[in-house]
């Protein structure tokens, strides 16, 4: 099996459309260690041990989660010590600040050097800051209550995303999702 590049994925959808269920499937099948920034204490993650920010340094295998409101410290420790694994940012709206003062920026710069994959979840396309859009390889679209055209200016590969968005919207399955590639 050939080696792939590291991936940044955005999972977008309104609450209760199946985002966390989907991500928990991805987490189960992921081959390396996983760290979930579980700011909402999701029930589906309850069996994974909670670690302190200090323990990011020694987290070497399996799935763990962090419930800590000091995002700046957590993100800095991930950037320094988390190699070879997947980081899931649940409800990543809290990181949607200005890029210049955002610790996520460092994470996005270093992810390939540290062999990290990222999954960010958002409740709508509208809430995703452009600097995260720019770095994303894939967007998994669930149903959202918004007009995709409002975000046209910041979405790379807009026609592809818009087509997927409309297809999800038209689907009768409330858990419908489509994953599209926005960056090779």
């Amino acid at each position: 099996m050939s080696e792939r590049s590291n991936l940044i994925t955005l999972v977008v959808g309104s609450p209760k459309v199946g985002k966390t269920t989907y991500i928990s499937e991805l987490v189960k099948k992921y081959r390396k260690k996983v760290l979930i920034i579980d700011i909402n204490s999701e029930k589906l993650y309850k069996d994974y041990p909670v670690i302190t920010p200090e323990q990011i340094r020694t987290h070497t295998e399996g799935v763990a989660r962090i419930i800590n409101e000091d995002h700046k410290t957590v993100l800095s420790l991930i950037d320094r010590y988390f190699y070879n694994g997947l980081v899931v940012f649940e409800d990543a709206t809290v990181y949607a600040m200005k890029a210049t003062e955002n610790p996520v920026k460092n994470l996005l710069v270093n992810y390939r050097h540290r062999n990290r994959d990222y999954i960010f979840t958002f409740h709508s396309l509208r809430r995703i800051p452009p600097f995260i859009f720019e770095m994303a390889n894939y967007i998994t679209l669930f149903r959202t209550a918004e007009n995709v055209v409002e975000s046209k200016g910041k979405i790379p590969e807009f026609p592809v995303v818009a087509k997927a968005f409309e297809a999800v919207k038209k689907s009768k399955d409330q858990y419908c999702k489509i994953t599209v590639q926005t960056r090779p």
Binding site: Q55, R80, Y81, D117
Partner: protein, 189 residues
Amino acid sequence: METHDLLQELGKETEVKTPNPEIQAEMSAPAFDPNAQPPVNEVIPEAVQGAQAPPVEPEEMPIPPKESAKLFIEMLNGISTLFLPGIFKKKLTTPKQKEILEKLEASGKDDEFLQEYSEEEQRAALKKRDLIREAIRGVPFTEEEKTFLEDPLAKVIEKHGMKTSPEVMLVIALLTVAMPRVAVLFREP
């Protein structure tokens, strides 16, 4: 429209990266022990300079789960003691029984029947009053009950990583202490 299977994509292997020796050393260092004493003559290295220094802020010392559990139980006990008696009185008596009990209390003659109510009505009201008094006596947790609740609650707190800062604990403690005093305001004259 080309769609992709993330399960398949993320399942593929990636090139493993190794941290530089400095970070490797930090990663294999034992976990931080807040109670550890520095060895005698230890040379404390100067702060790491430049962009590589992690902006680690002083770690907050969380309250141990058992201490949190004790305080939460005390708070629950305080809230129950404050509000349950009023709720019992309100829910367990009819308006008429309440009226009878108030009049009896005002007259100071529990053992005499009031002319305007039937004997049966007054007996029922007094029976309800005894029931309420007994219920109120049973509201505060006994020491045994508190101990019984402590361990399971501490385990839940630990399992869910619920961290309570010392400031929040202080507020809870203050409220618990102040509650019996505030309770006076809720008592009927």
